[in-house]
Amino acid sequence: MATQHSRSAARLMMAPAVILLLGWMLVPLTMTLWFSFRRYLPLRGGDQGWVGFDNYVRFVSSSSFWPAVQTTLIIVGGVLVITVVFGILLALLLDQPMWGQGVVRILVIAPFFVMPTVSALVWKNIFMDPVNGLFAHLWKFFGATPVEWLSQASVQSIIMIVSWQWLPFATLILLTAVQSLDGEQLEASEMDGAKPLQRFGYIILPHLARAITIVVLIQTIFLLSIFAEIFVTTGGAFGTKTLSYLIFQRVLESQNIGLGSAGGIYAVILANIVAIFLMRIVGKNLDA
């Protein structure tokens, strides 16, 4: 249907977005790449010349590197599992007939509107503080010793905070998918005597595959770069240092731009590995 004319018009219309994003990606990336090969210490006289791959070697050989990669993957993976599983359950529940559905939906999506800094501050102080936090009061009420959330269950606490922020997003996308489910097919299977679990496994889950993929893709993009939640709650202590937090420490706390830039390049590589992995799956599902 597309003529030559409409093709070139299409290209022209795509141009602004593509060029802008290309610039937004390439200019900082090139500068980062350049810095990553320099000995660049702002507090020690600035740019001190070429050092080859020194920064790259040093960044990986630091004892914090592999734990940081691991923490990144655990946090991203943990949040994804929690939001997808609870998202599906919530979506199925919200799809059922009930009174006040609109209000419940409003309550459920509310956390999505809270800025990450605020939610980290509120969780850290008002809920998770081991002396004055609400959880501590609750634990004490039941005669238990309050949990020292951010030091003893630090990664879990961060996963919990981030999951709370992203659960609404997952729920909403999954809910729209659930709502488009073919009711007749479900009824038919019910007639055939399929148990709820079977119905879920054979009809609902396959139907949701595409929505789940999209939730995973979008959330991964945002979760790989979470920063405020860690900065506010633990400051990178207690094994919560992610790759982007490690880069922050190198660039801003140690004031070593070269080293931090090398870390930035590693983070881009990691993100792209994850992306390729994701796109393989998404690509398949997006065609379907």
Partner: protein
């Protein structure tokens, strides 16, 4: 009999959904309640739920200490500006991807998304240096551009999934009638896509509103939005739960209200082509 069963089920559903909904909403509710307590009541053991001396003192203190109006205004301008600009740039791109797809359309789409994976901290210095060079530091314009670029991939993708759902035949018909490309977009496509565009606007307004790294690091006094406002309340000296709650409430309330009023639009917007 059957009716009774359904009614019973409806009651259970309702109870379960409300319980979970309230649980999820509770942290926000608690923050709002705490903002009306005195500092001593805020840490009272046992916690006080509704029966405390409601006070507006915290809001008065926060208002006296910082110019909330300006932070709010900057947030609105920056989030609104970046979203509108982004949508204006994204509509033609999404249109051409949806209706004149080529082999590389999907690659371009995924590549756009991948630009979001560059860790912001890693490129802080390059961007900061560029901002100094172009005199954009602490300016609303600079921040608007950056946030627009950050959210552009999401905007393009959302619009693309909407446009794809518009049946091609309608476009063909209008083309037969001799409509030009421009009028095709303006008069045929856009009206049909208005719900989609509206929800895209909403979602990206929220994302821009909540962005906390660039808005904090590229501003000083003139262009600082609500994220910077919050950064001055995070750990003041002494008891601060009530003041923190008041500042938090002030920072999230506008967007919360907007989100609630436009909930239906937003829900429709969040499909990302998930339903097909």
């Amino acid at each position: 009999m059957a009716r009774a069963v359904t009614n019973n089920r409806k009651i259970i559903n309702t109870a379960a959904a409300w319980a979970i909904g309230l649980l999820i909403f509770f942290p926000i509710l608690w923050t709002i309640l705490t903002s009306f307590k005195t500092e001593a009541q805020a840490i009272n053991d046992p916690p006080l739920f509704l029966f405390f001396d409601w006070t507006l003192e915290n809001y008065a203190v926060v208002q006296e200490r910082s110019n909330y109006g300006r932070f709010l205004w900057n947030s609105i301008i920056i989030a609104g500006g970046s979203t509108l600009l982004g949508v204006a740039i994204a509509i033609p791109a999404a249109w051409s991807m949806a209706f004149v797809p080529s082999k590389r359309t999907k690659d371009i789409l995924l590549w756009m998304l991948s630009t979001k994976m560059l860790p912001a901290v890693g490129v802080l210095y390059p961007i900061y240096l560029l901002f100094i060079k172009f005199g954009l530091l602490d300016s609303v314009i600079g921040l608007t551009i950056v946030l627009m670029l950050i959210n552009l991939p999401i905007i393009v993708w959302m619009l693309y999934t909407y446009f794809r759902e518009i049946p091609g035949e309608i476009l063909e018909a209008s083309r037969m009638d001799g409509a030009s490309l421009r009028s095709e977009i303006i008069h045929v496509l856009t009206p049909m896509a208005i719900p989609g565009i509206a929800s895209t606007l909403l979602l990206n307004f929220i994302l821009a509103w909540n962005e906390a790294f660039w808005t904090l690091n590229l501003t000083a006094a003139q262009a600082a939005p609500l994220t910077a406002f919050i950064a001055s309340y995070s750990s003041p000296e002494g008891l601060f739960y009530a003041k923190l709650s008041a500042a938090s409430t002030m920072a999230i309330l506008p967007i919360l209200i907007l989100g609630w009023f436009s909930q239906k639009q937003l829900v429709r917007g969040l499909t990302f082509g998930a339903v097909k």
